[in-house]
C-alpha cells in the first residue's frame, strides 16, 4: 500500500503572483505558436514556430501535469528510501545525482527511432505528426515512462516482464515476454535496414562507418590495458578519430579505393549480419562498451548542434502543413492518417520500448522518489523535442526531393528521368537536373529512393547546418549526420542482439539446461546465430522486397512498439487499481485505450484490409493470383520477385496478427485483475517493497528550490547531495 506520507513541496506557496503571471505568459506564447503552426496555409512558415509550440507545451505539461501525477496519482514520498539508498552497493545500486541520471536515462531511451518516424510521417505534412509528437508525449509517452519508472523503483528496479508476471499473472507475463522478444527482432531488422539504405553504394559513408570498428577496438584496448577506466579521455580521442574518419571517407570516395567500399545492399546485409554475430559473441569491452561511449557523446553533441542550428538558421518549412496523402495513398507508407501516423511515429510520442529502460538500471539509481518526475517525464519530453527537430529537418526539404528520396525504388524507376516523372505523378515537381544537383551537393551518386529516413534527415540537417554555420561543408555535414545515425543504430544492434540472445538462452535454458549457461560457448553461438538469423531474415527481405522494405516493415515495427506500450500501460493501470487509486486510473487508462484502439485498428487493417497496398493478405492474394496465371505485376520484375512478395506478405501478415492477439491477451488478462481488485473493495496486495525512512537529502528538480537549499545546508550537504546524521530519525515529513 502507498503511504499517506505525502510531501507537499514548498513550490507554489508564497509568491503566487509573479509565478501565475509567468505561466499565463507561457500559455499565451504556446497558444500563439500553435495558432501559426496549425492555422497558416498556403504559405511557408518558419520552423521556429514549431519549436515554440513544442517548448511552450512541454513547459506547461511539465509544470502542471507531471506535478499532478507525481503528487496526487503516484504520491511520491521523499521520506521513503529508494532502492539506491537501501541497497547501495556502489555498483548497480547507488544514489546518482539527478542531473547525471537524467543524462544516463536520456542516452538510453533516445536512439534512431525519434529521428526516423517523423521523417516518414512528413509525407502527410508537418502538422499531423507534430501534433501527435507533442500531444502524445504529454499525455501518453512521458506518463508511461514516469509511471513505470516509479513502480519499478518501488519494487527494487524489477524488470517490466517480471512485474507483469508478478502483478498481472503468468499468461500476461508470457505474452509480454513473447512481445518483447519479437519486437526486438523487428526493431533490429528495421534499424539495420535504415543503415543499409543509408550506406548502399556510398563509399564515403561505408568507409567512415567501417572505420568505427577499428576505432572502437582501439578504444577498448586503451581502456582495458593502457589506461583502465579512463573513459572521458578515451572517448575524446575516439570522437576525434571519428571526425577524422568522416573526413577520410571523402578522400576515399575520390580515390581508387572507392570501388572496394561501394557495396550493394545485399552485401551490406551480410556485413551487418556477420558484424552483429561477432559483436554479440565478443566480450563487451572490445566493441560494445567503447561504441556506447562514442554514441553517447555523438548523440548529445549532435542534438545540441541541431537545436542551435535550427535556432540560428530559422529555416522555412517547404513541405506543406498537410498533403493529399492523409487519405492513405502516399508512397512512403500506405494507410490513412488514422491510425498510421500514430504507428509510424512511436519514439518521440509514445514508445513502449522505453518501459524496458524505465524498469532497467534507472530505477536502481534514483536518489529521491520525487526525481521520477524530472527523469521519467523530463527525459521523454526531451526525446519528443528531438522528434520535433527531425520533423523540421525533413520538412525543410523541397517536397519533390523528399518524395524522390522516400518513395520505393520500384515506384521511382531506374533513372533520374523516371523518378522525376513519378514524383510529378504525385503532384510535386523536381527535374532530373535538380535531382542530380542535390546528390552532387552531398557528394552521393544518387539520392533517388534512399528510403529509411536517415538520408533525408541527413540532407535536411546538412541544409540547416550549412545555412547556420557556413556553406562549403554541406557534404561533410551530410556524412556527419549519416555517421551519427548509423553509429548509434549499430550500438543498438550490438546491444539488442546480445539482450535477445540472453532472453533466448534464458527461455531455452528452461527446456534444456546447458543452453542457458552464459559461459558455454556452443550455446552462446547457437542462440546468437538464432537472434541474428531472425533479424537478418527480415533485413534481407526488406532489402530485396520489390515493394520496398521500409514501406512494408516500418508499420510492423510501429505496431510492435505500440504493443509494448500497451503492455506497459496495462501494467501501470493494473498497479494503480491494485494500490486503491481507481479514481486516478484514467491517467494511464486513457492512453492505454487510445494506444489499443490505434494499434488494433492498424493491425486489423494490415491483416484484413482489402486494399492490397495496406492489407498484407490481400497483397499476397493479388500477387499469388497473378503468379498462378504466370503474370508479373509491377514493381516485381520477374516470377522470382513475385514469389518473394507472396512469402513476405504472408509472414508480415502473420506477424501483424500475432501482435494483435498479444495485445488482446495482455489487456484481457489485466482486466481480470482489475475486476478482481474492484470486487475485493478496490485494492489488492502488490509486490511493493515496504516503507523505510530515507536519510538522503537532495533536490527534486533540475534547480534546487530555496527550501531545498536550506535543507541541504542544514545537513551540510554540497553539490546537491546530503545525508542526515546517523542519530537523526530520518527525513522529517515537511
Amino acid at each position: 500500500m502507498t503511504t499517506e506520507r505525502t510531501t507537499p513541496s514548498p513550490a507554489g506557496t508564497g509568491r503566487r503572483g509573479p509565478s501565475t503571471l509567468i505561466w499565463i505568459a507561457v500559455s499565451v506564447f504556446a497558444a500563439v505558436c500553435w495558432g501559426v503552426v496549425a492555422l497558416i496555409r498556403d504559405e511557408e512558415i518558419n520552423a521556429i514556430w514549431l519549436l515554440g509550440a513544442a517548448i511552450g507545451s512541454y513547459a506547461i505539461a511539465y509544470r502542471f501535469y507531471s506535478r499532478f501525477i507525481a503528487r496526487r496519482v503516484l504520491e511520491v514520498d521523499d521520506t521513503r528510501a529508494t532502492p539506491a539508498e537501501r541497497l547501495n552497493n556502489a555498483v548497480d545500486f547507488h544514489p546518482t545525482d539527478r542531473r547525471v541520471l537524467f543524462g544516463h536515462h536520456f542516452a538510453a531511451i533516445a536512439g534512431a527511432g525519434p529521428l526516423v518516424g517523423p521523417v516518414l510521417a512528413a509525407q502527410m505534412g508537418y502538422l499531423p505528426g507534430t501534433i501527435w509528437i507533442i500531444v502524445g508525449v504529454i499525455f501518453a509517452g512521458a506518463v508511461q515512462d514516469m509511471v513505470i519508472l516509479f513502480f519499478s523503483m518501488r519494487r527494487n528496479g524489477k524488470s517490466l516482464g517480471q512485474m507483469v508476471r508478478d502483478e498481472v499473472g503468468l499468461v500476461g507475463g508470457i505474452a509480454a515476454l513473447v512481445a518483447v522478444f519479437t519486437i526486438m527482432i523487428i526493431l533490429l531488422a528495421v534499424l539495420a535496414l535504415v543503415v543499409v539504405n543509408a550506406l548502399a553504394n556510398s563509399p564515403w559513408g561505408t568507409f567512415s562507418l567501417a572505420l568505427t570498428i577499428p576505432i572502437a577496438l582501439f578504444m577498448g584496448f586503451y581502456m582495458r590495458v593502457l589506461r583502465p577506466g579512463a573513459v572521458v579521455e578515451t572517448s575524446l580521442i575516439g570522437v576525434a578519430l571519428l571526425l577524422l574518419a568522416i573526413v577520410a571517407g571523402g578522400w576515399v570516395q575520390e580515390s581508387s579505393w572507392a570501388d572496394a567500399f561501394t557495396l550493394s545492399p545485399t552485401t551490406l546485409v551480410w556485413c551487418l549480419v556477420i558484424y552483429g554475430f561477432l559483436a554479440s559473441v565478443l566480450p563487451v569491452w572490445m566493441l560494445l562498451a567503447p561504441r556506447d561511449y562514442l554514441s553517447t557523446f555523438m548523440k548529445i553533441g549532435t542534438i545540441v548542434l541541431l537545436a542551435v542550428g535550427v535556432l540560428v538558421a530559422a529555416p522555412k518549412l517547404k513541405i506543406p502543413a498537410t498533403t493529399q496523402f492523409t487519405d492513405g495513398t502516399g508512397p512512403v507508407f500506405s494507410g490513412a492518417l488514422f491510425p498510421f501516423v500514430f504507428i509510424t511515429i512511436a519514439c518521440g510520442a509514445l514508445s513502449g520500448f522505453h518501459s524496458l529502460i524505465a524498469s532497467g538500471t534507472t530505477p536502481k539509481m534514483i536518489e529521491k522518489e520525487s526525481q521520477v518526475r524530472m527523469i521519467g517525464y523530463g527525459a521523454m519530453l526531451m526525446e519528443s523535442f528531438v522528434a520535433v527537430m527531425a520533423m523540421i529537418a525533413a520538412c525543410v526539404l523541397d517536397p519533390g526531393l523528399y518524395f524522390a528520396m522516400n518513395s520505393p525504388a520500384g515506384f521511382l524507376g531506374d533513372s533520374l528521368q523516371s523518378a522525376s516523372e513519378a514524383v510529378a505523378g504525385l503532384g510535386f515537381a523536381i527535374t532530373p537536373d535538380q535531382l542530380q544537383a542535390a546528390a552532387a551537393e552531398v557528394e552521393e551518386q544518387t539520392l533517388v529512393a534512399r528510403t529509411g529516413g536517415a538520408p533525408t534527415l541527413a540532407v535536411g540537417m546538412s541544409q540547416i547546418f550549412s545555412s547556420a554555420f557556413g556553406d562549403g561543408l554541406t557534404a561533410f555535414f551530410y556524412h556527419f549526420a549519416i555517421m551519427f545515425e548509423a553509429l548509434f543504430i549499430l550500438t543498438t544492434v550490438d546491444a539488442g542482439t546480445r539482450v535477445g540472445r540472453f532472453m533466448l538462452q534464458d527461455t531455452l535454458g528452461n527446456v534444456w539446461k546447458p543452453i542457458g549457461r552464459v559461459s558455454w560457448a556452443p550455446g552462446v553461438w547457437l542462440t546468437s546465430a538464432l537472434v541474428v538469423g531472425g533479424w537478418g531474415y527480415f533485413l534481407y527481405t526488406g532489402v530485396t522486397n520489390p515493394l520496398g522494405g521500409i514501406n512494408q516493415l516500418f508499420p510492423l515495427f510501429g505496431i510492435a512498439n505500440q504493443l509494448l506500450a500497451a503492455v506497459a500501460l496495462s501494467l501501470a493501470t493494473t498497479l494503480l487499481i491494485k494500490h486503491g487509486k481507481i479514481r486516478w486510473v484514467w491517467v494511464t487508462a486513457v492512453p492505454l485505450a487510445w494506444d489499443a484502439v490505434v494499434t488494433l485498428t492498424a493491425a486489423y487493417q494490415k491483416v484484413f484490409s482489402s486494399d492490397p497496398r495496406i492489407g498484407f493478405f490481400s497483397q499476397r492474394d493479388r500477387f499469388q493470383e497473378a503468379l498462378d496465371q504466370g503474370e508479373v505485376i509491377a514493381p516485381a520484375k520477374n516470377l522470382g520477385d513475385m514469389e518473394q512478395v507472396v512469402t513476405n506478405s504472408t509472414i508480415d501478415g502473420l506477424l501483424a496478427a500475432l501482435y494483435a492477439v498479444l495485445i488482446i491477451i495482455v489487456i484481457a488478462s489485466s482486466a481480470v485483475v482489475w475486476l478482481r481488485a474492484i470486487r475485493a473493495g478496490g485494492a489488492l496486495p502488490t509486490t511493493e517493497i515496504p516503507y523505510r525512512r530515507s536519510r538522503i537529502v537532495a533536490p527534486a528538480g533540475l534547480w534546487a528550490t530555496a527550501e531545498e537549499k536550506r535543507q541541504l545546508a542544514a545537513v551540510g550537504g554540497h553539490d546537491g547531495y546530503g545525508e542526515l546524521p546517523p542519530d537523526d530519525e530520518g527525513t522529517a515529513p515537511r
Binding site: 556502489a90 538510453a108 577506466g229 572521458v232 563487451v284 560494445l288 561511449y293 553517447t296 543498438t492 540472453f502
Partner: protein, 59 residues
C-alpha cells in the same frame, strides 16, 4: 575554471569513469574488512558484469 570543472565532473559521472572512486569509498566506509581491488581489477569486473547484462538501448 568553474564551468570547465563542472563539465568534466558531469562527463566523468555520466560515463561512470568515477565508478572506481565511488566503489573504493563505499568499501572503505561500509566494509573496512574487505580488500579494495586495484583499478585494473575493478574495471575488469565491471566489464565482466556488463558481459552478462548489457542493458537495452532504445530505438
Amino acid at each position: 575554471m568553474r564551468p570547465l570543472r563542472a563539465v568534466l565532473w558531469y562527463l566523468r559521472e555520466l560515463t561512470d569513469e568515477s565508478a572506481y572512486e565511488r566503489y573504493v569509498e563505499h568499501v572503505r566506509t561500509h566494509h573496512p574488512d574487505r580488500p579494495v581491488p586495484s583499478r585494473r581489477e575493478f574495471e575488469r569486473q565491471r566489464m565482466a558484469a556488463k558481459d552478462t547484462n548489457p542493458g537495452v538501448r532504445c530505438c
